[in-house]
Point group: C3
Chain length 156, copies 3
């Protein structure tokens, strides 16, 4: 049996990535009541960080947007695992925290993080619309151009 959200993901032609390994002594997800906190996700392709470097310097805007989308796909993959495979239990995407490794004269953080925000709306519809912060970092783990963390509300 396939859920509504899984069907939408398939219709969109999206493949959720394999779950990335945690790169530290922490959990990918932690629940508190009906809130699911998902750790900051990096943009992986074939076991490597996609487009390493600072956005506005080594990394261009289009690649950064694609990296943000990869982070968001990893968030959704983590949420599916935390929900025992049933993404229909997602009541809402509540908040995304968007961290962009940035040159000091790069100011289009919002456009970058839109790569993640728009994916959430594609997959979850209105329930995917969320609050967020988008900021510029001096550097990110493993040289990643983008890191995105998420907060979701989950049905029992």
């Amino acid at each position: 049996m396939t859920g509504n959200i899984d069907r939408r993901i398939e219709q969109l032609g999206i493949d959720l990535p394999a779950l990335p390994a945690a790169v530290g002594a922490y959990l990918p997800c932690r629940t508190a009541g009906d809130l699911l906190f998902v750790s900051g996700q990096l943009p992986w392709i074939d076991g490597r960080i996609a487009w390493p470097g600072r956005v506005g310097a080594e990394v261009g805007l289009a690649d950064a947007v694609a990296a943000a989308r990869l982070c968001a796909l990893a968030l959704v993959a983590q949420v599916r695992e935390a929900c025992a495979g049933d993404l229909d239990r997602v009541a809402a995407v509540v908040r995304l925290g968007g961290f962009v490794s940035s040159a000091s004269d790069f100011f289009d953080h919002a456009k970058v993080v839109n790569g993640a925000s728009e994916l959430m709306v594609e997959i979850f519809g209105d329930a995917g619309r969320h609050a967020r912060a988008a900021v510029g970092c001096a550097s990110l783990p493993l040289g990643a151009p983008v890191e995105i963390e998420g907060l979701f509300q989950i049905r029992p």
Copy 2:
């Protein structure tokens, strides 16, 4: 009919700003239970970012404090909208996330973010006292010197 908090805002001589447009594919506020997550707000004046640049380089401390206060005013304006105009429903300011675009030798982030924290206490009294993080960013959206996000607890 005017609420207690609206009266205090008037007595303080504060004008809440017009609601700034979202600069990305997200919501200004998202509720989960009695928690209201408000997206990172930038310091707008007359449709422009106030005091663009890095604090400790192009932007001085006093202007950065004023920018943080503008961000906090925008947070309160967003909360009022989310509460259908009734700020008396704010039970507590729970947390502020303060992001300061910083030169690498700027260390007074706490003083900057106090511009937002003190406004919350002026407006909401003890209910306005909150936890927070204040950190230095390589850059912020649209060249802003400060971005502040907020978490509020709301009465039904």
Copy 3:
């Protein structure tokens, strides 16, 4: 009477630090329901910031890990105060936000923040396992190399 967690802290040979003074107009902790939000903590030793500077430049990895552990000890001290001395009321460490003052070519943020994450597991066991984000900052308050904020779930 000593609680289970206090006994484990003693067995581990850990001394929780004196509560650091807030360096701004905010609270060290704020509760919302059973969630306890703890403000970003800095690594203090004898009233001074330990190992000031940027990690990957003035500060080496081992010192940064030790600084992250100091931040985590300060978090636990704040939680104990918020729980009226009873750390057995901690149901879960839900999330850590790890901010590392970073050179632009420093990419081992995860190893740094592990200094905090591992302490939480040492002290709280499985309840100490948490979601987290770890990012690189242009600078941090008072020149600190690391700042860590925390979210805890507390029993009544």
